[in-house]
């Protein structure tokens, strides 16, 4: 009896704490932190202010609920300006996940454009994480917030990058969470970020050297040319972002959400 009373007391304390900080369900509280973006040659670190981040990527079931309520984002209705042809191509119909429905319900939704991800975020009263927020959270391994110089950690990520995509995406949250309590930052999908279009790649290819200067308004650093060679994994992510357009729908590209702390 005593024990159960104590337990109740703890539960109510936990609830109280939950109310006080209003931590949204399914989100992790990310503390203020500083990290070194891979493109930084000048040694400038970037500080990320506290925010909430989804623990898991958005799943097919989550996205199905969204298109049910928002018909304009169904496969057959979506405006071509907001999503290219492959949008949700792994679904059988507008509201039909197909024969593998049960298997993919809890796997991350992919084949979604940046516009669709953004509309989903708005519907949830949230937003997409910024590039710096995403990279900061992604630089944590299980033990520490900054592990992007940790050889074993980076090697694991690179091993995943070199693997072909599975036919059916595994469910979210199957692996251990990172330092922040966030799952699947690596090893499952690539993810949209709010400002993916701040990454430049056109000036970076060797045949393009003549255009490099053309591409910039003021003399500045380019993501790829100042690449920190140590962090090849981050380089690959930046390259991908640099190659994306906002209407692209890619088979291993999904998203998760972030939220400001009010």
């Amino acid at each position: 009896m005593k024990t159960s009373c104590r337990l109740l007391f703890i539960v109510s304390l936990v609830s109280l704490w939950g109310v006080a900080s209003a931590q949204p369900k399914g989100m992790a509280h990310i503390e203020r932190g500083t990290y070194m973006p891979f493109y930084s040659s000048s040694g400038d670190s970037v500080t990320v202010e506290p925010f909430f981040m989804d623990k898991y990527p958005v799943t097919n079931a989550d996205f199905l609920a969204f298109v049910k309520e928002n018909p304009e984002w169904r496969k057959s209705n979506v405006k071509s300006i907001f999503a290219e042809e492959g949008y949700l191509k792994h679904w059988q119909g507008d509201l039909n996940l197909g024969p593998k429905a049960e298997k993919i319900r809890s796997s991350p939704v992919t084949n979604v454009s940046w516009f669709a991800a953004r509309a989903y975020a708005k519907w949830k009263g949230k937003r997409l994480p910024t590039l710096d927020e995403w990279e900061y959270v992604a630089s944590a391994n299980q033990q520490k917030p900054l592990a992007s110089r940790d050889k074993e950690f980076v090697q694991k990520i690179l091993d995943w990058y070199s693997k072909p995509n599975p036919d059916t995406m595994p469910n979210v949250g199957q692996k251990k969470p990172n330092y922040h309590g966030v799952y699947d930052m690596h090893g499952l999908i690539w993810e949209w970020v709010q400002n993916f279009n701040t990454v430049f790649i056109s000036g970076a290819s060797r045949s393009d050297q003549g255009e490099l200067k053309q591409f910039y308004c003021a003399a500045g650093s380019s993501a790829a040319t100042d690449a920190d060679k140590e962090n090849y994994a981050a380089f690959l992510r930046y390259s991908l972002r640099g190659s994306l357009e906002a209407d692209f729908s890619v088979g291993n590209l999904g998203f998760r959400l972030a939220k400001d702390i009010e």
């Binding site: 109510s12 209003a22 071509s80 300006i81 009263g125 056109s202 591409f215 308004c217 003021a218």
Partner: protein, 213 residues
Amino acid sequence: MKNVTILTLFVAGSLFFSSCSEEEKKQQDKDTKDNHSAHSNMDMGTSEPSDGSIYHINSRWKNRYGTTINIDSLKGKVQILAMVYTSCEYACPRILADMKRIQDGLPAQVLGQTNFTIVSIDPARDTPGKLKQFAEENDLNNEHWTLLHGNNGNILELAALLGFRYKRISETDFTHSNLITILNKKGEVIYQRKKLVEKPTETIKKVIEAASG
């Protein structure tokens, strides 16, 4: 007793969340209403934009006079659009110069169906007042030139639509694509000039085609 405490906490919690979503809903309603009123103020005489029209974004901006306008008020004319910032010293003046060369290259009756739009990527410094001053300094008359000030979210969204990339690199400067986009009267992207070196000949040809189409 403790059960009551927990219940209270839960209720308090759910109230908190519902008041949050209530607030958001109000904001959304407000947005919708504002959009509607912006619509009714415009007599476009055109129906729902086509699937490929950028005017589906339905975002609101301020012009150089501080008047709020919806992006789809640009509909009905061929638009020659560039995203720049007015304190830029290298590429942006060249982009503006190219837009003027395009203007000079258009026959009068095509010019009558054409508008030039400059969208600032530096909303903190390019206030409507600053845009007005910039327009005066560069002879950008109100008849053919629209200068837009917007919030960061709307700028990012428009940039994403056009495939325009930009990034703040210091207190005063941005790095960005040097893009001039031609939109037809419906708001579909029909041509983009991506390099500064290109002569405006091709762009002028495209504008003339769009105006007759």
